[in-house]
Amino acid sequence: MRIRAGELAQTGMTDGSVDSKVSLQTSRFGVLEYREEEVINFPEGLLGFAQSTRFLVMPNPTGGPLMWLQSVEDGKLAFIIADPKLFLPDYRVEVSRQDQEALDLTESDEGKVYTIMVVPPKNPRAMTANLQGPIVINTNKRLGRQVVLTSGEYTINHRVFQD
C-alpha cells in the first residue's frame, strides 16, 4: 500500500457533544485539554521512546504549518511534526505489510503521514525532516507507528530549505 503525503483527508474532529475533557500539564504549552477520543495510540512508541504510547496531534498554538506530536503520558515529551506535502509533494511512503498489519490499515482506512522535524531554534531555516522514519497514522482507528523505510531513497535529516 502506498500513501501519498497528505493525500488523505484530515481526521474530522467530531462535534463536541457530551464529552469529558482531560487536562494535561505540559512543559511547552501549559495545561492542555483534550478528549480521550483524540488520543492516537502508538503501541510500540517511537524509536528510542518505547514507553510513550499515547499522543496528541495538534497544530502549533502560535500558528504556522508545523504541528506537534505531544505525549499525553509525559508532558515534557513532544515532537515537531509536519505534513511532508508542505515541502516535498512527491514524497511517498511505502508501508510494508507488517506495518500495515500493525496499523490495522485496510483500504477503507485513512492513512496520514507526518515527518518528525528538527528545527534549530536559532536557525529555523536549517530545519530537517526525518524522511526515512515517518509517522503513519490510521486516523479511523487512531493507531500510529513510526515506520522505517528500507528503500534507501530517503534520509533521516533531509534539509527542507536548500541553501
Binding site: R28, F29, P43, E44, L46, L47, G48, F49, N60, P61, T62, G63, G64, P65, L66, W68, L77, A78, F79, I80, L86, F87, Q98, E101, A102, I116, M117, V118, V119, P120, P121, K122, P124, R125, N130, Q132, G133, Q146, V148, T150, I156, N157, F161
Partner: protein, 83 residues
C-alpha cells in the same frame, strides 16, 4: 552472546514466535529471512540507532520559540487553499 552455526535454509527460533532463516550466503554477505509477530519491529541496527538518535535530537530541540521565528519560510501564512 550465543553463537550458533547454521547452513542455508536452516533457521533458529527466538522464543516460539520469531524465526530467523539463513536464506543465502555469498562471500561476506548473509541474507536473513525473519518471521516475527507484528508487534516486533525488525530493523537494520545502524538504521534503528540512527533514527533513535534523530528522535532524541528532535525531542530535545523541539522548542515553541523556534516555531515563532519561522517568518515566511513556508510562504504566506497557512490558509485553506485547495490543492
Amino acid at each position: 552472546m550465543l553463537v550458533l552455526s547454521r547452513q542455508i535454509n536452516e533457521s533458529i527460533m527466538i522464543g516460539d514466535a520469531i524465526e530467523v532463516t539463513i536464506v543465502d550466503i555469498k562471500g561476506d554477505k548473509v541474507r536473513l529471512g525473519i518471521a516475527a509477530p507484528r508487534n516486533v519491529a525488525v530493523h537494520r541496527k545502524e538504521v534503528f540507532l540512527a533514527i533513535q538518535a534523530e528522535n532524541k535530537r528532535a525531542a530535545e530541540e523541539a522548542d515553541v520559540e523556534s516555531l515563532s521565528n519561522l517568518g515566511d519560510l513556508f510562504g504566506a501564512p497557512k490558509s485553506d487553499k485547495p490543492d
